[in-house]
């Protein structure tokens, strides 16, 4: 006997779109994150150079990674909601 989810989930026609979009956005963020790690390793002195409002690259890039995560998350949610609404029967708007 297979185990079932707590709340039965109906067919979600938007799930394929959401999965694909999620993977792409993950890859975009992973690239930015890898850039941070890479600069630290390959060009560490650059992290100490002032780049914006007296702040060095380490601080700007670090804050940037946090802010970009939120921006991408909001974009992702907007796209998912839009697709769920377009494909009637999706369970996206719930919650």
């Amino acid at each position: 006997m297979l185990h079932e989810p707590a709340a039965r989930q109906g067919h979600d026609p938007a799930s394929r779109y959401k999965t694909r979009l999620g993977v792409w956005m993950f890859l975009v963020y992973a690239l930015i994150y890898a850039g941070f790690v890479g600069i630290n390793l390959l060009w560490p002195s650059a992290m100490g150079s002032t780049v914006l409002m007296g702040l060095n690259l380490a601080v700007v890039y670090g804050f940037g990674l946090i802010v970009i995560a939120l921006i991408l998350a909001v974009i992702y949610n907007s796209a998912c909601v839009k697709e769920e609404k377009r494909l009637e029967g999706g369970r996206g708007g719930e919650g």
Binding site: P5, Y33, L65, V67, A73
Partner: protein, 642 residues
């Protein structure tokens, strides 16, 4: 004793316990106990995510590490937050579709494999216990300055309260404890940061006038015929000792023992006064040349020697904006005084010495103080390994994954993750200001940096300290509750009900969960006492590595590779656990914890992720390809339940 922190603390704990008893009636079914009935609103769940995730490691550990190692502590903030991107984009909705109460449910949804049930339950227990250790250590750290109780008492108190929270109302009370704690943590951390910015920077911090700034002695000396002679004849050099790359000098003045760090600058020999604690064979303790007592503790440390090249009254900035605060600290002309701990024996006494060190602000505000990004290839690999584990660990933490089952739909799971990212991201930005605020305000306990954030709050008044400490305690309660729910679910639901096939009723499953919660709580108490004094963020970093190695490869491959088999998943989990823990146990950091030399460690790095995560992925692929004929292969990548 100051009673205000005690009263606020007791009121807070009383409110939490009252709430647990109130919700107890809602936790009589398994769905109520393990998943809060699956009906938590996504916005509440999002803040509860933050409350669950922002553990002692985030609040106490990261702030403490920033306070002593600068930007390197902030790397944890960046990595912990980045991990939520993996959770949102890849894991959130499929996990919600596939699971019921536990992470094991989701992994096993398409296989119904005894092997997966056992391996995933073991993994949940291992990761939860690894994660529990730093939380319990954090609890012990908190109660000493707050209530004047020993470390062990704090650990036992947290363990006892959490067992009551979890055993009465399971995930429902846990959710609301986490929701309240998450909200309060963000609000009051913001208040502390505003207070730091309003106070500004100075080279002689005095905790708002409460603790006079201590000026450590600097003695000029000359060296002739191998003898060290201070220019001030009041000092008599008694001997020197080379320890951990430092030359330490013991000198006396007015019959009192002092230790100095010797350095040579511009041809001059300079002795900088250290702090030290010396323990004799009978246990008698001397601190800085006088018997240890409540009136003679180790002094709190951390200050700027110069702010943009200015010293003394000229250096005081007054109120500063957030960017200006960072720019001034990060200036190449700013000098930060930090303290390095060394341990050695001298004249039959065990000494722990804290030697001053001066670092430019530019170096403090970029990676390199703790993680040697410009070091040897091995040190660089260690850095990559840490950043990889932090990035991939979040989406594999069982106590985070179970929160996807407390909301009604996959869309709600997604939205609650976004609320979590907003709250957690904002908090992590605050950690940089709190940590640097502590580093520059002479509030850091040199023997244990975990209390830096609450001690920073105390420099602004007892009320803020009391509230922040109560929130910090709630931080531990919230996270430990979540971990114990996850661990008890693994024992009662995954192992007893599913793996052993005991055919438990709904009621007995709840009872088994409560008993498991009690047992896990006892284990957590013991470990929390044993690991006293270790930086809690460091320990959580290791828990992330174990989670990322044991769980994430299985989750991702199950969702995206249709040839994944049950045996592949089992092998991947077990290899991930064994390789990651094996590397950790034989690493230099753990050898130091064992009381041995770091150089004796057979594995020269501390973070296992770079090796254990690929090993787990590779194992899954190889074993899955070898077991295709068994018919266990999944056929529904993406985790879509049709």
């Amino acid at each position: 004793m100051d009673w205000m922190p005690v009263i606020i603390f007791i009121a807070f704990v009383g409110a939490v316990l009252g709430m647990s008893f109130y919700f107890a009636r809602k936790a009589r079914s398994a769905a109520g106990y393990y998943a809060a009935g699956g009906n938590i609103h996504w916005s509440v769940n999002g803040i509860a995510f933050a409350g669950d995730y922002l553990s002692a490691a985030s609040f106490l550990g990261i702030c403490g590490m920033i306070a002593t190692a600068g930007y390197d502590g902030f790397l944890y903030s960046i990595g912990y937050l980045a991990g939520w991107i993996v959770a949102l984009f890849v894991v959130a909705e499929p996990m919600k579709r596939l699971g019921k109460y536990t992470f094991t449910d989701a992994l096993d949804a398409r296989f119904n494999s005894k092997g997966i049930q056992l391996a995933a339950a073991i993994s949940t227990l291992v990761v939860s216990i690894f994660y529990l250790i730093p939380q319990m250590v954090g609890a012990g750290v908190l109660v000493t300055p707050l209530l004047g109780l020993p470390h062990a008492v704090g650990v036992i108190m947290v363990g006892g309260i959490v067992i009551i929270i979890v055993a009465t109302a399971g995930m429902t009370s846990t959710t609301y404890v986490q929701f309240i704690k998450g909200g309060l943590l963000v609000v009051f951390s913001t208040i502390v940061v505003v207070a730091v910015l309003v106070r500004g920077l100075t080279t002689e911090p005095d905790q708002g006038g409460k603790v006079p700034f201590h000026k450590y002695a600097t003695v000029l000396a000359t060296e002739a015929d191998g003898a060290l002679v201070p220019e001030d004849p009041a000092w008599q050099v008694q001997g020197t000792k080379d320890v951990a790359g430092l030359t330490l000098v013991r000198a006396t003045r007015d019959g009192r023992d002092y230790w100095f760090k010797k350095s040579v600058k511009d041809g001059k020999t300079i002795l900088d006064e250290c702090q030290y604690q010396s323990v004799g064979t009978e246990g008698e303790t001397i601190i800085n040349g006088a018997p240890a007592s409540p009136e003679n503790p180790l002094r709190q440390v951390g200050n700027l020697e110069s702010v943009e090249g200015r010293k003394g009254s000229e250096a005081a900035t007054g109120s500063v904006g957030p960017f200006d605060f960072l720019a001034k600290i990060g200036s190449p002309d700013t000098l930060v005084k930090t303290w390095k701990m060394v341990k050695f024996e001298d004249q039959g006494r065990k000494l722990t010495l804290y030697a001053p060190s001066y670092t430019s602000g530019q170096k403090i505000l970029k990676p390199g103080q703790k993680f040697k990004v410009e070091g040897t290839p091995l040190e660089r690999l260690d850095f990559i390994s840490l950043m990889l584990a932090l990035f991939l660990g979040t989406a594999a933490l069982p106590h985070i994954l179970i929160r996807y089952y407390t909301v009604a739909t996959p869309a709600a799971a997604r939205k609650s993750t976004i609320v979590a990212i907003a709250a957690i991201g904002f908090f992590y930005i605050l950690t940089l200001f709190m940590g640097l605020g502590a580093m520059t305000s002479a509030v850091v306990n040199p023997a244990d940096n975990n209390m830096s954030a609450p001690l920073l709050a105390r420099s602004f008044g007892t009320l803020l300290f009391a509230v922040i400490s109560a929130i910090a305690f709630a931080t531990v309660l919230g996270t430990v509750s979540g971990l114990i729910v996850a661990a008890s679910g693994a024992v009662a639901h995954d192992l007893m009900d599913r793996f052993m096939g005991l055919g438990m009723t709904d009621r007995s499953k709840v009872m088994a969960g409560k008993i498991a919660a009690f047992a896990v709580g006892i284990v957590a108490i013991i470990l929390g006492i044993l690991f006293q004094g270790v930086n809690v963020t460091f320990l959580v970093g290791l828990a992330f590595a174990v989670a990322a190695s044991a769980n994430l490869p299985s989750i991702l491959m199950l969702l995206f590779w249709k040839k994944t088999t049950a045996k592949g998943i089992v092998a991947s989990i077990l290899v991930g656990i064994v390789v990651s823990i094996g590397i950790i146990l034989f690493s230099p950091d753990l050898y130091e914890l064992y009381g041995r030399q770091r150089s004796e460690a057979p594995i020269p790095f501390a973070n296992p992720g770079l090796f254990s995560i690929p090993a787990s992925f590779l194992t899954l692929v190889v074993v899955s390809l070898m077991t295709q004929k068994s018919g266990n292969a999944g056929s529904n990548p993406g985790g879509h339940v049709e």
